[in-house]
């Protein structure tokens, strides 16, 4: 159909002259990785906390945690992202809002994306942590209490060490999701992998090569994370449990 393939395009100097097109892709790749990993830290910490709170006997705390999960699970990621990016700075007290709005735009995009992805994923992590805790035999908790542990001690020494190990396999898929979901952040102008892909199409006029390369980069991330997590899962698996297998 008359399309001129040209894979050499990636090594030509880019339109702005200071880099090659491959350099653009690499920058996007790094942004995707950096964003996803920093959001994952937020997601794990908050998710673990919220997930634990959902299982405590205190009605108020458990209710608060489940409201949190419902809120973040029932609004599309794109809408959440736009709210973080466009709405929140307006609602801050003017003095703080102004400082924020005058900061580096790339920093603003990154912060909004990181917080948004982190909180969005934390709700999912919380659900996995909760089901991990609930999957433990009830006797474990009762045994802890019967031995005279307080409830926090029971969580700290009996329930959580087991639950966190059981929950690793389902968390792998959330970890994979965070990399894929980070592509949504291209919509607010953050120059991660998908956004660089769009730019490449515009600047190089080689749409097929650009998109194939970016798609392969996502597959590479996916395969790498899966391989690493598989090794980790094996090391951390609780002997005698079929658990995630």
């Amino acid at each position: 159909m008359g399309y001129q393939w040209n894979w050499g395009i990636f090594f030509q100097p880019s339109a702005t002259g200071d880099d090659t097109y491959f350099g653009w892709m690499l920058a996007g790749f790094k942004m995707t990785i950096g964003l996803s990993l920093s959001a994952w830290v937020i997601a794990l910490l908050l998710g673990a906390l919220i997930g634990v709170l959902r299982t405590v006997p205190n009605r108020f705390l458990a209710g608060l945690a489940s409201a949190y999960v419902e809120l973040f699970r029932n609004i599309p990621l794109l809408v959440q992202l736009f709210i973080w990016y466009f709405v929140l700075p307006e609602l801050l007290p003017p003095s703080i809002g102004e400082i924020y709005k005058q900061s580096n735009p790339i920093l603003q995009q990154f912060l909004a994306s990181m917080v948004c992805l982190g909180l969005f994923t934390s709700a999912r992590v919380a659900e996995q942590v909760r089901s991990g805790i609930n999957s433990l035999p009830r006797g474990q908790k009762n045994a802890g209490l019967a031995l005279g542990f307080t409830l926090p001690q029971t969580y700290r020494f009996v329930i959580l060490p087991m639950a966190f190990r059981l929950v690793v396999p389902p968390l792998t898929s959330e970890f994979l999701n965070i990399f894929k979901n980070s592509a949504v952040c291209s919509t607010i102008g953050l120059l991660e992998l998908a956004a660089q892909g769009r730019q490449l199409v515009d600047y190089t006029a080689q749409p097929y090569e650009s998109f194939i390369a970016v798609t392969l980069a996502y597959i590479l991330i996916n395969v790498t994370v899966m391989t690493l997590m598989h090794k980790f899962e094996k090391r951390i698996a609780v002997p005698g449990y079929i658990g995630g297998k």
Binding site: V79, F86, R198, P207, Y218
Partner: protein
């Protein structure tokens, strides 16, 4: 403090409703295509014919490794041009909605096929053996015995995936379609009331998805009292 002004919402409701219809249309067709094509993929994946199961595994793994945004961009920027050339359509034919729908359906099928595969595998093996002992063909046993039971087990999961899918339709924003979210964004941008429109859109999605997920929960309790 920020002064809210919700006055652009009432006048734009018909436009927003048109957008919602597009969102629902995409959701519905993606669910239908997703379940049909997903079932076929799941059966291929479990089949003993090597090329078929390899194809299905490749398809599912490929689509599950790539972000939806990326798939939609493929079907926004690349595929329409390809189709134009293939069928000799005049350039500039508006294929955005069709293309987004195809992209969506193909993407979601991969996820549906995984749910359905798990459903089929949850039916005890003896059922298949019993069918064969009764002289049924593979097709007959699937259609009359295995799939009806598998689907019954899967209903809550399929519906939950439908809710996720409805949320995902907001991503057609990348192909500049006026679905519900796109419409809300356009109104907010036009009136300089982005804050209100985005919050409104979020609230509408929340109400719909929360209500739907509560319904699914009740359904699940009714059919699978744990």
């Amino acid at each position: 403090m920020y002064e809210f002004d919700w006055s652009s919402i009432p006048g734009s409701l018909p436009f927003l409703w048109d957008g919602m219809k597009i969102s629902l249309e995409i959701t519905l067709q993606a669910i239908v295509v997703g379940i049909v094509w997903g079932t076929l993929l799941a059966m291929m994946r479990l089949s003993s014919i090597k090329p078929l199961s390899l194809f299905a595994a490749g398809y599912v793994n490929l689509f599950r490794a790539v972000p939806l945004v990326m798939v939609l961009l493929w079907f926004f920027l690349i595929v329409p041009r390809f189709i134009e050339q293939l069928f000799g359509l005049p350039t500039g034919t508006d294929l955005r909605l069709t293309s987004a729908m195809i992209g969506f359906a193909l993407f979601e099928s991969a996820y549906y096929s995984e749910i359905i595969r798990a459903g089929i595998q949850s039916v005890p093996k003896g059922q298949m053996a019993a069918c064969q002992a009764l002289g049924m063909t593979y097709g007959q046993s699937m259609r009359l015995v295995i799939l009806p039971q598998a689907f019954r087990n899967m209903v809550p999961l399929l519906l939950t995936q439908g809710i996720i899918l409805f949320q995902d339709t907001s991503l057609v924003y990348v192909s500049a379609l006026a679905d519900f979210f796109g419409a809300a964004y356009k109104v907010g941008d036009r009136d300089g009331r982005l804050v209100e429109m985005l919050l409104f859109a979020g609230a509408v999605y929340f109400v719909i998805c929360f209500a739907a997920s509560q319904l699914v929960k009740r359904l699940q309790k009714k059919y699978h009292p744990a």
